[in-house]
Structure formats: structure tokens, C-alpha cells
């Protein structure tokens, strides 16, 4: 499949502060990519650049368009939710559906109405009368009814109840995603998205520190519950993270790092398993919060 998003030397500075520091990445079509990093790491800036919302330096191609000069063409095939609760407060549910149908050639009205029928939303309800969760439901209904090639979600569930969050990602996966679509999600709530992602990008201080598919990550990183007698041997193999769970040492190993142990060697140390993305994130971002 073709490349949906490709960046070469993408940089963005706000005054003296460098928000994005010359990053390169590629996103192929048909993937769900998580762009994950702490607050202020450059996630949102990267996406804003890709959506043509801010000027930037370097090269960036989205669906073959340059977002700086070809934004109007680009927006025919791209949709985004930049933040929750940004729908205009005066808008009614039926106005929103009418309007999006009026201006968007790829909007499917039946799909949006079917989705809204499953919620508590009423056609005459105004956005300012809605709870945050209901606004997200409306926004999602509008966006999921648009047949876009690329969907960008920037912190789509920030400040929402766990029930809405779960439902949000479930709907996204079941009703929206298919092999012709690409979704890019930024979040700092890793554990929520790790089960739906196909690819992972960790961003830290404006740089990409890890970019891999979930399969590659499963092969590369190993978590070992080290038995008491083998702790010193395990430490010698340079784990990238150590913690203690119920009195047992749990160590995280990067099998791709130079001079590190193979899976068989690690299996001899104790019980092995695939680490969660959240644990990997914490290990990778060590020191960022210090």
C-alpha cells in the first residue's frame, strides 16, 4: 500500500523553543498509528503541521499533498477531531448534520443518523445543553459518517468518563476502520489505545525515540519476572527498566540493543512475557518528568 504520511526533517519552533526537532517518519495506508508522548513533547504540533494548521520547516507530504500550499485539496480526504468539546455551542444536532452534509461530499447522512439513534442525543438539542460525553458522541457520529482516507484524532478522549472512552475506541474499530483508511491517534493515556494500534511512535522532546509496528515491538522487547537467585545475572544483561511487583523483580529487556541477550538466554532467567505499551512508555520516557 502507498504512503499516507511522510515527513523528512520536519521542524517547528515557537520563538526560541523547538517543539518538533527535525523528525522523519512514514505512515503507510491502512494502519492505526499511535503517536504517544508526554505533554509538550510535540505530538499536537506534528499533527497540526500535517493538517496544514500551522507553518513549519522541512518536508511533509500528506496523501501526496503539501499541507502548506494544498490544504484545500487535502481536506477533501482528511478529517480530524482536534479536541473534545469544540463543536460550536449554538449548534443543534440537526443543524450539524445538515451543515456537514451540505459542505462535505463524502458525508453519509444515514450512517450519522444511525449512530446518533443509539445515543441520548435528540435532533433539536443544542451543543451547549450537552455533557462533554454527548458532544464527543455527536462529533464522532459526524466524523465516522465521513469517508475520509486519513482520520487524525488528537487527544480525542481527554477528560471523558471511562465508559465513553471505551465506547469511542470500540466504535472507531468496529464501524469505521477498514484497510483503505488510516488513523493517527495522539494520546498520553497509552493503556487505552494499545489494543487497537497497529503501529507505535514514541515522541520525546520533539524527537521520535521509537517507531515500530506492534509485531516488531512484541519481538524486540521482553519482560522477565526474574527469580531471586538470578538477579545479579539479569542485571549484567543491562535491562532498560527494573521494578518490583509483589516482591519479585520485573525487568524489561531490549533484545535489539547491542550486546544484549537473546530470548533463550532471557527465558533462563525466569518467566517471560510481552511488556505492555504503558510499561514500555514509562521505560522509554524515563527522566522526562524528573
Amino acid at each position: 500500500m502507498s504512503t499516507v504520511l511522510s515527513a523528512k526533517g520536519l521542524s517547528k519552533r515557537y520563538g526560541k523553543r523547538v517543539a518538533v526537532d527535525g523528525i522523519d517518519f512514514e505512515v503507510p495506508a491502512g494502519r492505526i498509528v499511535g503517536l504517544i508522548g508526554p505533554n509538550g513533547s510535540g505530538k499536537t504540533t506534528t499533527l497540526k503541521a500535517a493538517l496544514g494548521l500551522i507553518p513549519f520547516d522541512g518536508q511533509l507530504s500528506v496523501l501526496g499533498f503539501d499541507p502548506r500550499t494544498q490544504r484545500d485539496d487535502l481536506m477533501q480526504d482528511v478529517c480530524f477531531i482536534a479536541d473534545v468539546a469544540i463543536l460550536p455551542r449554538w449548534m443543534r444536532v440537526k443543524d450539524a448534520i445538515d451543515f456537514v452534509q451540505g459542505v462535505h461530499p463524502r458525508f453519509n447522512r444515514e450512517k450519522a443518523e444511525r449512530y446518533i439513534a443509539n445515543t441520548k442525543l435528540k435532533p433539536s438539542m443544542k451543543v451547549k445543553e450537552m455533557s462533554k460525553g454527548m458532544i464527543v458522541q455527536l462529533h464522532l457520529a459526524l466524523v465516522m459518517a465521513i469517508d475520509a482516507k486519513l482520520l487524525v484524532l488528537d487527544e480525542p478522549t481527554l477528560g471523558l468518563d471511562i465508559i465513553y472512552r471505551k465506547q469511542f475506541y470500540q466504535n472507531l474499530l468496529e464501524d469505521y476502520f477498514d484497510e483503505h483508511k488510516t488513523i493517527v491517534i495522539t494520546t498520553h493515556q497509552v493503556e487505552e489505545v494499545e489494543h487497537i494500534l497497529t503501529d507505535l511512535m514514541f515522541i520525546r522532546d520533539g524527537k521520535i525515540v521509537l517507531a515500530a509496528s506492534m509485531e516488531e515491538i512484541g519481538e524486540r522487547y521482553v519482560e522477565v519476572m526474574v527469580s531471586h537467585d538470578k538477579i545479579s545475572a539479569a542485571n549484567a544483561l543491562q535491562p532498560i527498566d527494573r521494578r518490583t511487583v509483589f516482591g519479585k523483580a520485573v525487568m524489561l529487556f531490549d533484545s535489539a540493543a547491542p550486546g544484549s541477550a537473546s530470548r533463550q538466554q532471557l527465558a533462563a532467567l525466569g518467566e517471560t512475557r510481552n511488556p505492555s505499551v504503558a510499561d514500555l512508555f514509562v521505560a522509554t520516557m524515563k527522566g522526562t518528568y524528573a
Partner: protein
């Protein structure tokens, strides 16, 4: 840009500003009819139709009064009423000028403040089309709404007034309905829309520019910057005059620029920016009543002045700048 998108953008502006664009002038129109018309009706109902009146100390009966009003006087009154009745709704245009001012000031600022610009920008609508929809709303949609309300309110007042007179034995309906002006005035007013648009363009452009540029307090920027510049110009020309003894004539220019930036959305203001109402019209107005047809022609003639087009060009340039600013302005 396609016309369907524009139709929806205009509808969206109307949805959002229904309160200020329709309900505010509609309520003012209703109040006008109620208060002015109500006073007339109340006067007749409470006091009845007077059978005799004292004029200069002499008792004149009602029949004598009607008889004293000769037919040519009656037709003159009808002609005047037919020509002038739309002035009955004049307060509506003052309301409109105010509504327009604040509409343009908020048009590109509010969406950034509440971050809903991120929603509008997620749809395939270009910045140029969006800004243009706001210009069309300010220059066409809102004035046409007010014009229709003005015609309705004025006709209602005219009807109430004529009814009151006929209860007094002065029957004007017949002559009034044959006045061509009665039917022509709304069309003339509508045909003034292009004149209004050209003269309002600098103000609309300035307000939209500030609206898309200001990070906070667009009102202070829009009004404060021109006033401070005006003060500076006054101070500079005053000091220079004291030094060199030569009068500098930049003050009137600066004053005109500021007036056109801030006052252009007031209908009829074009006369104050040009030579004014032609003397011939003012003189004939003294004994014949204002000739609305001539006033209409004089309004169109103001478009032959250079000031009109310099302002329009400046307005268009500021609108273009507002489009570019909206393209790159970060929200929040």
C-alpha cells in the same frame, strides 16, 4: 468555491446570529408599530374623534375642517406620505449598523476564542470561502432582512395613520394607493444595496481584519488603534506647526480615514464622506418635501467619486489579509 457550499455557510451564519440579525430588528420593528401606532389608536379611542377644534381662538367644526382641506392639499399629503413612509422604520437601520459592527468584530475572533475554528477547519471549506460568507452576510443578508422588516413596519404605521385620519373624516386611502412612490420606495431602497456595500467595505474589511488578528479584546484594538493614531497625528501636526509655523493639513485626512474605518456600516453615511446632499435636493425639500427619487440618484452618484473606490479597494485588501490570517492563525 461552489455555490452550494456558500449557501450552507450563509445559512450557518444566520443560525448562529439569528438573535442579533433577525430578532433584534424584528423586536424593534414590533415596538415601533406598537408604540407609535398604539399612541395613535389610543388617542382616538380615549378621546374620540373631536367634533370641534379651536384654531386661533375660533371654533371650527369638523365638517368645516375637512372642507377646508382642499383636494390638492390632500394629494400633497398623500404624495409626502408615499414618499416618506419608509422613514418610519429608520431606527431599524441604526440597529443594523450596530449589529453589523459587532458581528464583523466577532466573526473571526469568537471561533478562535472558543476553539470551534478547529471544527470548521476540519471540513473541506477554504478560508477564502468562509471569510467571503461573512462578508456577504454583513453586506447583503443582514441589510436585506432589515429592509424587509422596515417595509413591513412602515406599511403598518402608514396604515394605522391613514386609518386614524379617515376616522377624522379625511380620506386619504384612495389618493395614497395611487402614489407610484408607495410601490417604488422599497425597490429603490433595495437598489441602494450596492451603494451601501461599496461604502461599507472599508469598515467591514477593517473589523474583519482586527477580528482575525486580535489575540484578545478585538473591540479595543478596532476602536483604540484608530483613535490613538488620530491623537498622535494631532499632536505631531500641532508640534510641527508650532516649530515651522506652517499649517499641516493631515488632520482632516486622518479624521476621514478613521471615520470611514469605523462608520462605514451606517446607511446613508456616504453623503457625509462626499460633497453631501446636493443643494438642489435640499432646497426643493423645503417646500415640496424630500424628493426620494433624486436622493436615490444622488446616492448612486456618490459612486462616481474617487473616495468611494479607494475605500472599497482598501476594504477588499483588508478582507484578503483577513483570509490569509485565518489560514495560519493558531487558535487559542
Amino acid at each position: 468555491m461552489n455555490t452550494l457550499t456558500m449557501k450552507w455557510l450563509l445559512r450557518r451564519e444566520f443560525w448562529e446570529h439569528k438573535g442579533s440579525m433577525f430578532w433584534a430588528p424584528a423586536i424593534v420593528a414590533a415596538l415601533l408599530v406598537l408604540l407609535v401606532g398604539g399612541t395613535m389608536i389610543y388617542g382616538l379611542a380615549a378621546h374620540g374623534v373631536p367634533n370641534t377644534v379651536h384654531i386661533n381662538g375660533r371654533l371650527v367644526t369638523h365638517d368645516a375642517l375637512s372642507a377646508a382641506l382642499p383636494p390638492e392639499m390632500q394629494s400633497k399629503v398623500s404624495r409626502l406620505a408615499g414618499a416618506m413612509y419608509l422613514l418610519g422604520g429608520a431606527p431599524l437601520f441604526i440597529v443594523m449598523a450596530g449589529v453589523m459592527f459587532f458581528y464583523c468584530l466577532g466573526a473571526l475572533y469568537d471561533e478562535r476564542r472558543d476553539r470551534s475554528i478547529l471544527f470548521w477547519k476540519s471540513l473541506p471549506v477554504s478560508d477564502a470561502t468562509t471569510v467571503l460568507s461573512k462578508v456577504i452576510t454583513a453586506l447583503c443578508v443582514a441589510p436585506v432582512i432589515v429592509l424587509v422588516l422596515d417595509v413591513i413596519a412602515s406599511l403598518a404605521l402608514l396604515f394605522i395613520g391613514t386609518l386614524g385620519l379617515s376616522l377624522n373624516g379625511i380620506h386619504l386611502f384612495g389618493t395614497l394607493l395611487t402614489q407610484p412612490d408607495l410601490y417604488l420606495q422599497p425597490l429603490r431602497l433595495l437598489a441602494l444595496l450596492p451603494v451601501y456595500a461599496i461604502w461599507a467595505l472599508p469598515t467591514i474589511g477593517w473589523l474583519l481584519l482586527v477580528s482575525s488578528w486580535a489575540k484578545t479584546k478585538p473591540f479595543l484594538w478596532a476602536v483604540g488603534v484608530p483613535l490613538i493614531v488620530l491623537l498622535l497625528v494631532k499632536w505631531i501636526s500641532y508640534t510641527l506647526e508650532n516649530f515651522s509655523g506652517m499649517p499641516l493639513n493631515i488632520m482632516p485626512v486622518a479624521q476621514e480615514v478613521v471615520a470611514r474605518l469605523l462608520g462605514g456600516s451606517v446607511p446613508g453615511i456616504w453623503f457625509s464622506f462626499t460633497e453631501g446632499i446636493p443643494a438642489a435636493i435640499r432646497e426643493s425639500a423645503r417646500d415640496q418635501g424630500p424628493d426620494m427619487g433624486a436622493l436615490f440618484e444622488a446616492s448612486w452618484m456618490t459612486l462616481l467619486t474617487v473616495q468611494a473606490w479607494i475605500g472599497a479597494l482598501a476594504g477588499a485588501a483588508m478582507i484578503f489579509a483577513a483570509m490569509r490570517l485565518r489560514r495560519w492563525r493558531d487558535e487559542g
